[in-house]
C-alpha cells in the first residue's frame, strides 16, 4: 500500500493530470457560483470588445459578454462532451471487443473487419460526416463523437480478452458453469480494466479536442451556448482589433486536454508494467 502511494507520487504526470482534471470538474460543477455574469443573457453592447481589465479579467466579446464567464461555463460543454461521448464509445468498444475476443469465429471476423474499416477513416473526418448527417447541436456532437473512436477501445479490449481468455481463472469460472455474460463481464472485464481506463482518459482528451474543432468549424455546439471551440470561431476576424478573444478559450481547451493526456499517460505508466519498466 505504502509502495503504491510512493509509485503514484513519483508519477508527476499522473498527479498533475489528476489535479487539472479535478479543477475542471470543480469549475464545471460550480460554474454558476464562479462566473461573475451569466454567459449569454448578460450581453451588453455598451461594453463590447473590452480588453482584459480588473473588471473583466478576460475581456469581453463583440456582443459585450464577459469572456471569463463564458470560459467558465464552457467547461460544462467540454466536460460533458468528453464524459458522455467517451462513455458511449467505451460501451460500444467494450461490448464488441469482449464478445469478439470471447466468441471468436465469424463474429470476431466481422467485428475486426468493421473496426479496421473504422480505423481507416480519420476520426475528425468521420465525426464531420456524422455531423453532416445529423446537423449541428450538442446532442448530435455526443452521438457523433460517441460513434467515432470506439474502434480503438474495441481493438484493445479484444486483444486483452485474447490474452486472458485462456487463463485459469477464466477457465475455472467457465467450469463452474457460469453463463457467458457473467464470465465476460464479471470475470474478464475487471481484469482488463486498466488498459481500458487508459484509453478512456486519452479518448476523453481526444473527444474534447474534436468537439472544439467541430464547434470552431460551426458544425458542433451552436451559439449562444458557450463552447470553447465555438468562441474561437469568429476570433480570426477580430485578431487585429481584439486579440484577447483568441487567447482564453483556446488556453482553456489546451489546459483541459493537456491534463487528460497527462492523466492517461500517467495511468498507462502506472498500470502497464511493461511500459513503466523502461522508465
Amino acid at each position: 500500500m505504502d509502495n503504491w502511494v510512493k509509485k503514484i507520487r513519483k508519477r508527476t504526470n499522473l498527479v498533475a493530470g489528476t489535479i487539472v482534471f479535478l479543477i475542471i470538474v470543480f469549475v464545471a460543477v460550480f460554474a454558476p457560483y464562479l462566473a461573475p455574469t451569466h454567459p449569454w443573457d448578460d450581453a451588453d453592447l455598451m461594453i463590447s470588445e473590452l480588453p482584459p481589465s480588473g473588471e473583466y479579467l478576460f475581456g469581453t466579446d463583440s456582443k459585450g459578454r464577459d469572456i471569463l464567464s463564458r470560459v467558465i461555463y464552457g467547461s460544462r460543454i467540454s466536460l460533458s462532451v468528453g464524459v458522455i461521448s467517451q462513455l458511449i464509445n467505451s460501451v460500444i468498444g467494450i461490448v464488441f471487443g469482449l464478445t469478439a475476443g470471447y466468441f471468436g469465429r465469424l463474429w470476431d471476423d466481422i467485428v475486426v473487419a468493421v473496426a479496421n474499416i473504422m480505423l481507416s477513416i480519420p476520426s475528425l473526418i468521420f465525426a464531420l460526416a456524422v455531423m453532416a448527417l445529423l446537423g449541428p447541436g450538442l446532442i448530435n456532437v455526443f452521438i457523433a463523437l460517441g460513434l467515432t473512436n470506439w474502434a480503438y477501445t474495441c481493438r484493445i479490449t479484444r486483444s486483452q480478452v485474447l490474452g486472458t481468455k485462456n487463463q485459469n481463472y477464466v477457465k475455472a469460472a467457465k467450469a463452474m458453469g457460469f453463463g457467458r455474460c457473467r464470465v465476460m463481464f464479471l470475470h474478464i472485464l475487471p481484469n482488463i480494466f486498466g488498459p481500458i481506463l487508459v484509453m478512456a482518459s486519452l479518448g476523453m482528451a481526444d473527444a474534447i479536442l474534436m468537439e472544439a474543432s467541430l464547434s470552431f468549424l460551426g458544425l458542433g455546439t451552436q451559439p449562444p451556448v458557450p463552447s470553447w471551440g465555438g468562441m474561437l470561431a469568429g476570433a480570426r476576424e477580430q485578431l487585429f482589433t481584439a486579440p484577447w478573444l483568441s487567447i482564453f478559450p483556446g488556453l482553456a481547451i489546451f489546459i483541459t486536454v493537456l491534463g487528460l493526456n497527462l492523466l492517461g499517460d500517467g495511468l498507462r505508466d502506472l498500470l502497464d508494467p511493461h511500459m513503466s519498466e523502461t522508465k
Binding site: 481507416s120 476520426s123 473526418i125 464531420l128 453532416a132 474543432s213 460551426g218 471551440g229 474561437l232 480570426r236
Partner: protein
C-alpha cells in the same frame, strides 16, 4: 516478398469497399434530406422539391443508389453537385493540389523535427532535456490546431507583420508557412512521442546489449542497430496516426482560408451538398489508405522477416 505485396494489395480492395459502404450510408441514410435543405436555409417549394428528388434519383432505395455510386466510382465518377450541378470530380480536382501540398509540407516538418527529437529524448532518458522535450510533445498533442494557428497568426502576421494572415496567395510559398506549421505541430508531437517510446523499447532489447558487448561505438549502435529497428515501429504508427494530420487539414484550411478539400468539405456540409461532402471524405480516406499501404510495403523492404512469411 511478391506474395506479400500482392496480398497487401488484395486486402486493399475490401477495405475501400467497406469504407465506401459506411460513408455512403452515413451520408445518404435520410432520404430527401439534401433536397429539403438544398440551397442553404431557404425552404424550397414542395413542387420544386419533388422535381429535385426525381432529378437526383433520391426516390430510389438507398441500396440502389449505392450500387449506382459504386458503378460511378469505378469510372472515376463521383456524381454531381446538388447546388451547382457540376461534376464532383470537376469541383474537387483543383482542390487536390493545395491540400496535398499542405499535407506533405506539414508531414515533412513533422518528420524532420519530431523523429530526431524523440530519438534524442530517448537517448537522454531521465535527463532534464528529456523531460522538457516530452512536456513539449504532450503539449503539442494537446494543442487545438485552430488555437495554435490563431496564436501564430497573431504573432507573425499581426505583431511582426512578416507573414500573410490567410489565403493561398496563388501558390506564393510565404502563404503556406503558417498553415503547414500549424498542421505539422500536432503530428510532430505524436511522432516525437512514438519515436521516444520505440527507441526506449529498442534500447532494452537483448540484441542492443549484444551490440554493446561487441565494443562498437555508440554512434554506430544508435545509427545502425537502434534506428533500423525503431524505423519499423515508427513507420507503422506514423502511418496510423497520419489520419489525425489529414483530419487536421479541415480545421487548418478553414482557419487559413486555404482553398483545399477541407474548406470545400466544410462548405458542402453547410450547404448540404452531399455528393461534394462524400467526394471529399472519400478522397481523404483513400489518401490515408494509400499512405498506410505504402507504409506496409516499405516495411517489407526494412524487415527481412516479412519476405519469408
Amino acid at each position: 516478398m511478391i506474395s506479400y505485396v500482392l496480398r497487401r494489395l488484395i486486402q486493399f480492395v475490401p477495405t475501400i469497399f467497406g469504407v465506401t459502404l459506411i460513408v455512403f450510408f452515413l451520408l445518404n441514410v435520410l432520404p430527401g434530406n439534401a433536397a429539403m435543405m438544398a440551397g442553404g436555409k431557404n425552404r424550397i417549394p414542395p413542387a420544386a422539391q419533388k422535381l429535385m428528388i426525381k432529378k437526383w434519383g433520391l426516390d430510389q432505395p438507398v441500396y440502389a443508389r449505392y450500387f449506382k455510386y459504386i458503378k460511378g466510382l469505378c469510372t472515376a465518377d463521383l456524381g454531381t453537385s446538388f447546388i451547382s450541378g457540376e461534376r464532383v470530380t470537376d469541383v474537387l480536382a483543383p482542390r487536390l493540389w493545395p491540400t496535398f501540398k499542405l499535407a506533405v509540407i506539414a508531414l515533412a516538418i513533422a518528420c524532420v523535427t519530431g523523429i530526431p527529437l524523440g530519438f534524442y529524448s530517448a537517448l537522454r532518458q531521465g535527463t532534464a532535456m528529456d523531460t522538457v522535450t516530452m512536456i513539449g510533445a504532450v503539449s503539442g498533442v494537446s494543442m487545438p490546431q485552430f488555437w495554435l494557428g490563431l496564436l501564430l497568426m497573431y504573432f507573425f502576421s499581426v505583431y511582426l507583420k512578416i507573414l500573410p494572415t490567410v489565403g493561398y496567395g496563388n501558390g506564393d510559398p510565404k502563404f503556406i508557412i503558417l498553415p503547414a506549421i500549424t498542421l505539422g505541430v500536432g503530428y510532430m508531437a505524436l511522432l516525437a512521442r512514438t519515436t521516444r517510446a520505440a527507441v526506449v523499447e529498442t534500447l532494452s532489447q537483448d540484441y542492443i546489449r549484444t551490440a554493446r558487448s561487441k565494443g562498437i561505438s555508440d554512434l554506430l549502435i544508435n545509427r545502425r542497430h537502434v534506428l533500423r529497428n525503431t524505423l519499423t515501429i515508427i513507420l507503422t504508427s506514423a502511418g496510423l496516426q497520419f489520419g489525425s494530420l489529414l483530419g487536421g487539414t479541415v480545421v487548418v484550411e478553414t482557419l487559413f482560408s486555404w482553398p483545399g478539400l477541407g474548406t470545400m468539405m466544410v462548405n458542402s456540409i453547410y450547404y448540404r451538398d452531399t455528393p461534394i461532402t462524400q467526394g471529399c471524405v472519400m478522397i481523404i480516406i483513400v489518401g490515408f489508405l494509400v499512405i498506410n499501404l505504402l507504409v506496409d510495403l516499405s516495411y517489407a523492404l526494412i524487415d527481412p522477416r516479412i519476405k519469408y512469411q
